[in-house]
Symmetry: C2
């Protein structure tokens, strides 16, 4: 009988968010009348911006006629969208990214999950703790995990703790890894890195020949002037970093599916013969072989967001969520909790009341406030003692949640 | 410096279709006035069926309002689409496939390219020759290729020649592989397997504990009564086969992006500890970790095709292309060429005139008829001496191509 990838069976049974969904579903079935407010999984709730609706409507219409029908597009995305991205997301910030360094896809999760396909199977990986589980699980699946430790970490992966004591700024890895995953503004802690702090990582990566996989999915929420929107704002980052972007949290595309990845031409890895191999070529090869491009309709929707009206409309939605974040943050603080994040990020990292672990606080909030959060320990041992709340609900639901929280705490 | 996946650099420089696109682009730039007819890459040209347009239009509209907005869907696809597929594509043919054995994705190419992630890295793979390059390249990327032989084949992969002498019905592999890729109706030869012929493979796979990865992307073109539409029409196939389906050639979704994969619950692989592990669980884990679902808008479009009007509309388009296939097939035969395929398939496999290899015939057709085909040797050494033509052009272009061909040949 053919053998399976044994690393899959070493993973704990189910992915964090699927497990929480099940807990919540069980609660719902026992309490069918409970008006549950979800601040758990990072899904958005506001409608898609009118500009994107118009762009998609037009694209759907084009598909109805042979003259305007669009078939296979380039695997790396349509030129009209790549050039809009290069101009608006990078050039306007003084960053020079060429259209052919941008790869459109069906989402950042796919790209992040697939990216290490193009790296050696034995590379050493470093992640923050707490961490977005996809960084870890995708490497475990590729045989890079070693074995599972009792605290939920993996022996083959380096963890950089992000805790109250270091202000959630990870220390540089002690033993040099090949790949460093960074997500800033951070999921789950909602904290950000300043230009100087991120610069330390870029310097470190260049010095040690490491690759930074930089997840900038929450870039649109940045308001602090000294927090970079792109890692390429840092000198030398093009020689050591890949950046992942998402339309999910920027424009509400969680159900539409679109993201992109930047792989600069200056970025090289080491070939088996000692040669320097451009990563961009490898990722292009990966995408042309195992992917067939993102949907034309959705690409047209995204392109419409790069017009002045489109920019304005998505800014309104982002401000809407940021208002929620402020409201949540202040209410939790007034209730006596210690909270982090929620300034340059839609996530709030709330410290559990004394005597409560993550899971207990999660259960308390579910049972007493009918509020779904995410237990911090699900993101790694340094997440113990916290829960993550998202600001993606409606104003009304946020106010209702705040009121229930105030009564409880 | 971090090491790359060295297997990527062992692959020939560029993917077949990208290379052809470049040849054609070069020709176009030298002959800007040439009215080129493309029968090379398998892209469709007819507009999307009105039912799907209506479904997508409505879905886009729903996204414009908070009440009907849809965020993250299940990674394995929305229930409404999975149940429509289970009913129409399987149950109506007497095949019992449960909704949760169906995984919707952004396309068959992604699923086929990614599927062996869940298998051991050392599995032995068998493919037909000629072959759709993705089956081979994705395994080479995973380190299963061995080394490249002078004829373009790989030492670590078993090839099952499909030639005129065996009527394009591959012989069963001599040394038992772990995985057998089959694409029927076949890309590129356009030939099909009868129920009996496919049954031989199912029996073989069950006897040897092999897995069949069955690519049924062209199922909608089948007209012969004894050609199965699904491998699950064969007794025992659920215990040994995964089936990939695509909306690209069925409903013109090449630019919209949608496909699905069936992983039956009866299908097990061998774990490292000797246990039998359900493949469905592994694929679910892969998709929930590295994929975030297909676009809601596109899933709504596809679901609308499972209505009676939708069925009727896509049948009309398929008949349109099948008419092209007949016209092409007859014209080529009348011009004295030997042709295969084009009956249960949109592909025609035309034998080059005496004295011409695949590339010479490809160049002749490009230069003299301004007709783009695909050289058969690009699909493997047994494809030498053939070119592939697709029936996806308009009637008018097909007639024009036939006229140019008749003048030339």
């Amino acid at each position: 009988m053919f053998e399976i990838n044994r690393y899959y069976t070493e993973l704990p049974k189910s992915y964090l968010f699927s497990r929480i969904a099940k807990t919540v579903a069980d609660f719902k079935s026992k309490h069918p009348d409970a008006r549950i407010i979800s601040m758990g999984i990072g899904d958005v709730t506001r409608p898609i911006a009118p500009a994107a609706i118009a762009g998609m409507t037009e694209a759907v219409k084009a598909m109805a006629s042979a003259d305007s029908f669009v078939g296979y597009g380039p695997e790396q995305g349509h030129a009209f969208l790549r050039s809009a991205i290069a101009e608006t997301d990078f050039s306007s910030r003084g960053i020079d990214i060429a259209d052919d360094e941008i790869f459109i896809s069906d989402g950042a999760k796919s790209d992040i999950g697939n990216f290490t396909d193009i790296l050696d199977s034995r590379i050493k990986v470093a992640v923050t703790d707490p961490v977005y589980p996809v960084y870890v699980d995708s490497n475990v699946m590729a045989g890079r995990g070693g074995h599972l430790l009792p605290d939920g970490r993996w022996s083959g992966i380096s963890y950089m703790p992000c805790t109250e004591s270091n202000g959630f700024v990870p220390e540089l890895p002690r033993t040099a890894p090949d790949v460093i995953y960074l997500c800033y503004p951070n999921n789950p802690t909602g904290t950000a890195l300043t230009r100087h702090q991120l610069g330390m990582f870029v310097d470190y990566a260049r010095r040690h020949g490491a690759l930074i996989l930089f997840d900038a999915a929450y870039e649109a929420y940045i308001e602090s002037a000294d927090v970079p929107h792109s890692i390429y704002e840092i000198e030398g980052a093009k020689e050591c970093a890949v950046e992942f972007r998402s339309f999910s949290k920027t424009a509400g595309f969680t159900g539409l599916r679109l993201g992109y990845t930047v792989v600069p031409k200056e970025l090289y890895g080491l070939g088996a013969d000692g040669s320097r191999v451009p990563l961009r070529q490898l990722w292009l090869r990966r995408q042309t072989t195992k992917f067939n491009g993102a949907s034309y309709v959705i690409q047209c929707g995204a392109a419409s967001l790069y017009t002045p009206e489109g920019r304005e409309q998505i800014q309104q939605t982002i401000q809407y969520y940021k208002t929620n974040a402020s409201v949540l943050r202040e209410a939790l603080q007034q209730a006596g909790l210690t909270v982090y994040g929620g300034v340059d990020s839609p996530y709030i990292w709330a410290k559990s009341p004394a005597g409560y672990g993550s899971e207990q606080f999660f259960n308390l909030l579910l049972e007493r406030c009918h509020l779904v959060t995410t237990p911090g320990n699900g993101f790694g041992p340094s997440g113990e003692g916290f829960v993550r709340l998202t600001a993606f609900s409606s104003h009304q639901a946020t106010r209702e949640a705040v009121s229930r929280l105030s009564n409880l705490l």
